[in-house]
Symmetry: C2
Subunit: 265 residues, 2 copies
């Protein structure tokens, strides 16, 4: 028997050294593996669709693992949550086909980056935003972002330490706006949402750092087209800090999960 | 010379024993007094318009104090922020009339209470919400809230340890809805905003605990009318926990600050 499970996870990234298991470090993959061991006694390293960096948050990480046990998804959901620390939670669990692979199942991913651009420093939002001390021009940033839409070689937007070979990715949307509602300084939070079929190492954070160079007036919106064409990391802006980034949604190909045995979250 | 200052403060309540200064406790009033001493060498206890409880957050606490120094409001703003810890910030500073009193200047206050009512526990929002494990009926809660609008004796909604004499307060609005946007479980957060001319000790939290008794189906919306009429704390629901509560806005009478010397935030 046994089952393959598909989980959706949320976590606050602040006290994690990222998703990926590393010796001697507290990682999301690591604490989830420990919770699986506590539930079933099995030593399993669950696979995640996105290798989020240290300090990056997630509200929809897609995870898969195969157990030799026959626990129903709802049993896994409750038992894993009972064994996970307060900064990570399993939001849902469903059964997946035996060959389910979260990396190939994830057809698009959407990230949100939050920037606090008031004169005063953030207090309530401080674990979740990048502080920028002057107001950003979001219209200029949106114009700059249009040069990134579509399929491109994104070498300029990759941390050079990455071993990935193909630098071609497709960005479907970059939506920039101000968050409405009662924050500590109303209107003083910029949201940048980026959706695409895959992302190079640090790519979203370098996109944000580049768009901020436009938003603060140091560069023109057209400059981002030159950055793409350069295919060279130093051409782009700085890497925005991790705490402003959140993995917002992973869209899955329906056929990747269609063979489930009628279970749902 | 000397000046009277009006400050707007934001703070995260989690590590504070509330607003009011107490020996041996870390309070907002206390750390602000220490910052004032660091700036001007004066021993001044600033006055706040709302005595928020331990664990309660604020994005618009109104504070007044009078200094013998002649520092401009913008000097105070920068210098205080340089001397305040990361969980409290001065958002603005203006000069106020000599007799400015934040308590009497505050004509209405608005609070927001956040409830996370998903099956899964909150992760990113956990310092700012009350977790309720089943979905709440916000329409029933809104109907229940209508019985609280207007001027009433709110004895049923006051912690009995309070020494305040008049229990008559006026509630102008209670707005209940679900927060939109990309939270960890979209739609699974109820916002209750309460605005009125003044609040008894724990009044907003007891209102929330009472409305939740309706929202979860234990009580009918009409029951809250009976609770008001009872004028007896045990008639109402439980006191909701502090971390879900935030002081959202204090509206000030224009004449209370009109004599300012042209300075603004």
């Amino acid at each position: 028997m046994g089952r393959t499970l598909l989980l959706r996870l949320a976590y606050e990234g602040g006290r994690f050294s990222g998703w990926q298991s590393q010796p001697g470090r507290r990682t999301v993959q690591g604490v989830l593996a420990e919770a699986i061991t506590a539930v079933s006694g099995e030593q399993i390293l669950p696979k995640g669709a996105s290798r989020t960096d240290a300090g990056v948050h997630a509200v929809d990480q897609l995870v898969g693992f195969t157990s030799t046990k026959d626990h129903a998804p709802q049993v896994w959901l409750k038992a894993l949550n009972a064994n996970l620390p307060e900064d990570v939670v399993v939001l849902s669990a469903v059964e997946a086909p035996e060959d389910f692979d979260p990396v190939s199942a994830a057809v698009t991913k959407r990230y949100r980056y939050r920037i606090h651009d008031a004169a005063s420093r953030p207090v309530l939002a401080r674990p979740f935003v990048w502080r920028w001390k002057t107001p950003l021009d979001t219209a200029a940033m949106q114009a700059a972002a249009e040069h990134l839409i579509g399929e491109h070689d994104f070498s300029s937007f990759e941390n050079p330490s990455s071993p990935r070979q193909s630098k071609i990715r497709r960005i479907d949307a970059i939506d920039i706006g101000r968050r409405q509602g009662g924050d500590e300084v109303p209107g003083a939070e910029v949201w940048i949402e980026v959706e695409g079929n895959g992302f190079l190492y640090n790519m979203v954070r370098i996109i944000v750092g580049t768009l901020v160079m436009v938003g603060c007036g140091k560069r023109s919106p057209e400059w981002t087209g030159e950055v793409v064409a350069a295919c060279h990391r130093p051409a782009a802006g700085p890497t925005a800090p991790p705490q402003g980034l959140m993995l917002l949604r992973i869209n899955v190909a329906p056929e990747a999960i269609a063979v489930c045995h009628g279970s749902s979250a």
